[in-house]
Point group: C2
């Protein structure tokens, strides 16, 4: 079964307005969730939406909360998300970072005390849609051991780099700094598959590709072993300093992954190049990478974000595949 | 045999002035190389210095070249390094990024057409010494296959994150986005050791820990497999757009690793926090990470940059260990 993007967004918007969002907030939040499904990240789109509604019903998310600006000094702003609706606050913060970038060349909004932003890639695509280079990250609860340690002390703090293209086929890297996200590990377990490379440790302290073992120990591997561990620590430090908000450690003392620290950086390439120059640079690099000799016969090398771009094209034309049961629950809300 | 930092720097400065640098340029460049040795990165300190002198003698490095500012718009500047002395140009660019950060909260200098910057961590430590958070990277020649490809198309583009501490024991992540740098792979080969984890592919296309095999195929692994590959592409894109300079691909058409594109971002934490607040945040996170239960009995978890800080303390007190033959060659110059 498939549903059009417009229909999905309209249903999300209807429900969010019913639950207390303003029309504008509901529109933006609905678009974020529908876009996640549209680009193939179903786990952060339709499939996550019922949980969001439950949080709204339980009062865990207050639709009336809006972020406030605590510091505004030139190209740097510090915002307080007041534990509002994570994706909406994050979107507003990246919008503002882009506005600052258009004024100063580069802009940064440090968004403290915000809730989970869902898919970090959203804000990369958003910056790129605004014509900006985007760099952003969020801290998380402690869900990964530091390199050399056994217990979960650091976050898998997702890190995003986005580069705009005029055709909308932006180059976007969106990666947790663990080798696999917990969502991906769960996916492998549910489909009865082993990870393609070791993703963590089993109960004997050996590296394993068994997703169930890793879920038991919570000892996921940082990407690049010690490198991802170091990057995770640095990202948490920078986010916590710039927000004066919660570090991975303090988030770990809360009930749930709430009150996070997020950093949105935007850079305006139009300050240095014509749109045609930027476009030519991006196309040349992307084409060169794609001209690689593939490892597997008939294989191909994709640029970061290429799969999402294909999904968007495909699902825009043919509709977004949905789990009928979940979709029906949305219609009934 | 050991040499004091001051003595090493004085000798470097003497030689650089003899080779045509201004006193100020010689002082800064000498300090950069001596600091690399002081923090234990001998390969980019004393051990590299004779090669630099050879480049000066051959005219590959022109000591009279100074970078020029091509664009200066608010918090963003684009510089042209005119293929001058890489580390000196990079230092000037990061200094300027810090100045912009103190004015605007965040500052960015895109330094195009610059030569190899030696140790990227230098500019992270430099930002931190200036009280700033530093984020910087450089592209390189194509020295790594993209994920899914066989031939070298992407760079191991070193990426640096630095966070200042009042005591100078800054937190600095300095990592090539390959799992191992070629320098590290050579080190393992020379010491007759296998890599601790797979670092690339052998001639049969299998993952291997054998450094000699990887040097043969040039098929090094990106850190985190597809993740490091994506990050490498994004860093090259951003650096090339912001400098309108050379991409990894075009650098690959030159004779040697020259004319690189580098990005220096500095953020001033003092815009949001008192020094005491920032210090408390950093110490709390570092202490929490260090309180990890170690994997190995009696082991410890280190923060990024801790080993360098220890080397600096140790070698400042006891002198920097040097290879006598290399040191004597310096004295004879």
């Amino acid at each position: 079964m498939t549903v059009t993007y417009e229909e999905m967004k309209a249903q999300f918007k209807r429900i969010l307005m019913k639950k207390g969002f303003t029309e504008e907030g509901a529109e933006d939040a609905a678009a974020l969730f529908a876009q996640n499904s549209l680009c193939g990240k179903f786990s952060h789109g339709l499939n996550r939406f019922p949980r969001v509604v439950r949080y709204l019903d339980e009062g865990t998310i207050d639709p009336h909360v809006v972020p406030t600006t605590e510091i505004s000094l030139g190209a740097y702003e510090r915002w307080n998300g007041h534990r509002g609706f994570g994706p909406l606050n994050a979107k507003l913060a990246m919008d503002r970072a882009c506005t600052l970038a258009k004024q100063y060349g580069i802009g940064i909004v440090a968004l403290g005390n915000n809730n989970h932003w869902m898919r970090g890639g959203s804000y990369g695509f958003q910056a790129a849609d605004n014509g900006c280079i985007g760099i952003c990250w969020s801290n998380t609860c402690p869900n990964m051991p530091a390199w050399g340690g056994k217990d979960r002390k650091i976050g898998n703090n997702p890190l995003i780099f986005a580069v705009p293209r005029a055709n909308g086929r932006h180059v976007v890297v969106d990666c947790a700094v663990s080798q696999f996200s917990y969502g991906k590990i769960e996916e492998y377990r549910l489909s009865g598959k082993q990870l393609p490379i070791p993703g963590g440790y089993d109960e004997n302290g050996s590296l394993t590709t068994d997703p169930a073992q890793i879920e038991k120990t919570w000892r996921v591997l940082p990407m690049g072993y010690w490198k991802g561990s170091g990057i995770s620590i640095a990202l948490d430090l920078i986010a916590t300093i710039l927000t004066n908000g919660n570090s991975v450690h303090t988030v770990g003392t809360f009930d749930g992954e709430v009150g996070l620290s997020q950093v949105m950086i935007a850079i305006d390439p139009a300050k240095g190049n014509t749109p045609e120059q930027t476009e030519a640079i991006v196309n040349a690099i992307v084409e060169d990478v794609k001209s690689s000799i593939p490892v597997t016969e008939g294989g191909e090398v994709r640029y970061p974000g290429e799969q999402e771009a294909r999904n968007i094209e495909n699902f825009s034309k043919n509709g977004i595949p949905v789990v009928e049961e979940i979709w029906n629950s949305i219609l009934a809300m």
